[in-house]
């Protein structure tokens, strides 16, 4: 469960906090099926018309859910994630940034044992225009998101928002936005997200927004080489100095690992068109991606 569908029942951990309340309202407004929330101190109450439970496990027993989303500070994130995983969530969307690495490892370990899909940490969430969103994306804003056929993958929420906005203005709606997170250890990698969009019948082309650091874009390029759907990419961080963490803990070039040039080379070798600036993306998509002749025309006609 990487792409949000309205059939998915959502649990909001930390639903009563300021951000939890604000974004839960937006999610519901957008169509997301929020069925319950968690706050140990407010168990038994209702908040935003849904029941509040002490734990995800207690929620699952009375109000089953498929997906959990965490509005939880870093020091408590491990406990909340393990609660959702052990409760049987199929997916957990972890928005929290700056979770200690030891806790992140423990979360991924438990998720692997329970076959839970982790999205994040440090993601802005996922959006399926026309169905709903889970996280802290402006999924409710029709100037930014419109239903369509382009799947968008991004490590960054702000840049992903800009790119969806550009697509929408060019008449290219989105089948799904997958925010995968800016952390170095994320549960759903660029490659996982690309495969999900490749398998998605509603998606006809993919925009892959990467960042310097790590090797996830290179791994995704290997997958993209075998795809028949066209892929357009933008990689942020070309002008960033090496050896410095650029805001995201994962965005650092150390030695030869994670460099812009390496990622761009790998993607281009796989037949992916790489844009120099975000504004070029809609043009590359709708021009049919015939730059190297290896991909079929996109046939995506602006609405």
């Amino acid at each position: 469960m990487i792409i949000y569908r309205q059939s998915a029942r959502v649990l909001v951990q930390g639903i009563t906090g300021k951000q939890g309340t604000f974004w839960t309202e937006k999610m519901i407004e957008c169509g997301t099926r929020v069925v319950a929330g968690v706050n140990p101190k407010r168990a038994g109450e209702r908040h935003l018309s849904v029941p509040v439970y002490a734990t995800a496990k207690a929620a699952m027993a009375e109000t089953p859910f498929d997906m959990a989303v965490m509005f939880i500070p870093p020091a408590m994130a491990r406990e909340a994630a393990l609660d959702a995983i052990e409760a049987g969530a199929r997916s957990v969307v972890i928005l929290t940034e700056h979770i200690p690495a030891r806790d992140v490892i423990a979360i991924h370990h438990a998720a692997a044992q329970h076959r839970t899909r982790i999205i994040g940490p440090n993601t802005a969430g996922i959006v399926t225009p026309g169905e709903g969103f889970v996280g802290i994306m402006p999924g409710h804003n029709p100037n930014i998101f419109q239903p369509g056929e382009v799947g968008v993958i991004s490590r960054s929420g702000s840049l992903g928002t800009l790119i969806c906005l550009n697509l929408t203005r060019a008449g290219l709606g989105q089948s799904a936005f997958l925010g995968i997170g800016g952390d170095p250890m994320i549960g759903t990698t660029t490659r996982d997200a690309l495969q999900a969009l490749d398998d998605d019948p509603r998606t006809r082309a993919v925009v892959l927004v990467g960042e310097i650091g790590g090797a996830m874009e290179e791994a995704a390029a290997e997958y993209a080489a075998g795809m028949s759907k066209p892929v357009v990419s933008f990689i942020a961080g070309r002008a960033s100095p090496p050896g410095k963490k650029m805001g995201h803990a994962g965005a650092i070039v150390s030695g030869t690992v994670g460099s812009y040039d390496g990622k761009r080379r790998a993607l281009e070798a796989a037949g992916v068109a790489v844009a120099d600036t975000p504004a070029e993306i809609p043009g590359l998509l709708s021009s049919g991606l015939s730059h190297d002749g290896t991909k079929p025309a996109a046939h995506i006609v602006p609405a």
Binding site: R102, H108, R238, G247, T277
Partner: protein, 384 residues
Amino acid sequence: MNFMEHVAKARVLAPAGIPVPRAVHCRTPEDAAAAFEALGPCMVKAQVPTGKRGKAGGIKPANSADEARRVAERILGMRIDGHPVGSVLLEEQARIAHEFYAAILIDTASRCPLVLFSTEGGMDIEEVAATRPDALRRHRVNLDAGFDDAAARSMLSGLDLSGAEGQVAEILAALYATSRRIDAELIEINPLAVLADGRVVALDCKLTLDDAAAFRQPDLADEAAAEPMTDLEREGAANGLKFIQLDGDVGVLANGAGLTMTTMDVISHCGGRPANFLEIGGEAYTKSEVALKLVLSNPGVKSLVVNFCGAFARTDVMAEGVVTAWKRLDPSIPVFFSIHGTGEDEAVRLVREGLGQEPFDLMEDAVQAAVNAAHSAASGGAAR
């Protein structure tokens, strides 16, 4: 956060039962001379959080108290890889028979702890991996299994450790347990030496603590080495802002790491040079006023691009901070905006009414205008 060798050894290795040489930490040449009396023939080692000390001349032997004083004096005046040397560690000289390599780190690709060991110590581990892969062992730790003496022994099996297998296995297991307990991102012992008398001793130690875990390792975090930062970067950090000063002339104020990097990329693509990285995304989006001051304090800045795309961050809140600060600071450089996303209409109104500026629709156009303005200011033209 990084640590000096002496802190890593005294605060982390020794308490974990990992043998280290007798040593005295000294801040003055006189202290070094006195330390020699206690230690005898020793090595004088610059204490800076970087791996380039030996090549830079920051590690030298001393065979008399007078030599210890002179060597310490020279090393204490050095700068190594940007770090001024504030102290030296005097350590008893070791008679080395073999040098190994041991490290515990986090393998981000497999999302688990990784134990590394090599019989080729004293070399860069990347070099060993490239030239002597047979000398290198990697063990990904399964959290359920953990990593004890027995696991260490099986990892080492087949390597010739000259009879030190037992000691090395104990050290690896202790190192793993410690790395977990202190939230280490990396503990590296290079070299891990077998001495002539058969003892195994950690001769050097590189330690990096997970920044995100500093809150639960307060005592150790207090002893971290100071990061090399400019005054403005330090001011940013004190205000909870990640500010990186660069050598260009187009200032950047944007929200979110991805959008900020992209703004820098587009500046570069348009023929300009970014003056800074600074993002006010996440919880920091309310700090645009102090952020603007930082960007404008950078002496190289000749123009500014403000690029907001609100998802979590509200552009109206950020714009209000910028407009308020701009009016108060009344800077003489031109500014160019592009604003989209959450709170956009109100943000555009604030900028239009407060500063008489019309935000650009495309960030690329705002950036190009800022780059052009910086060029014209640099060539002597009036900025505005």
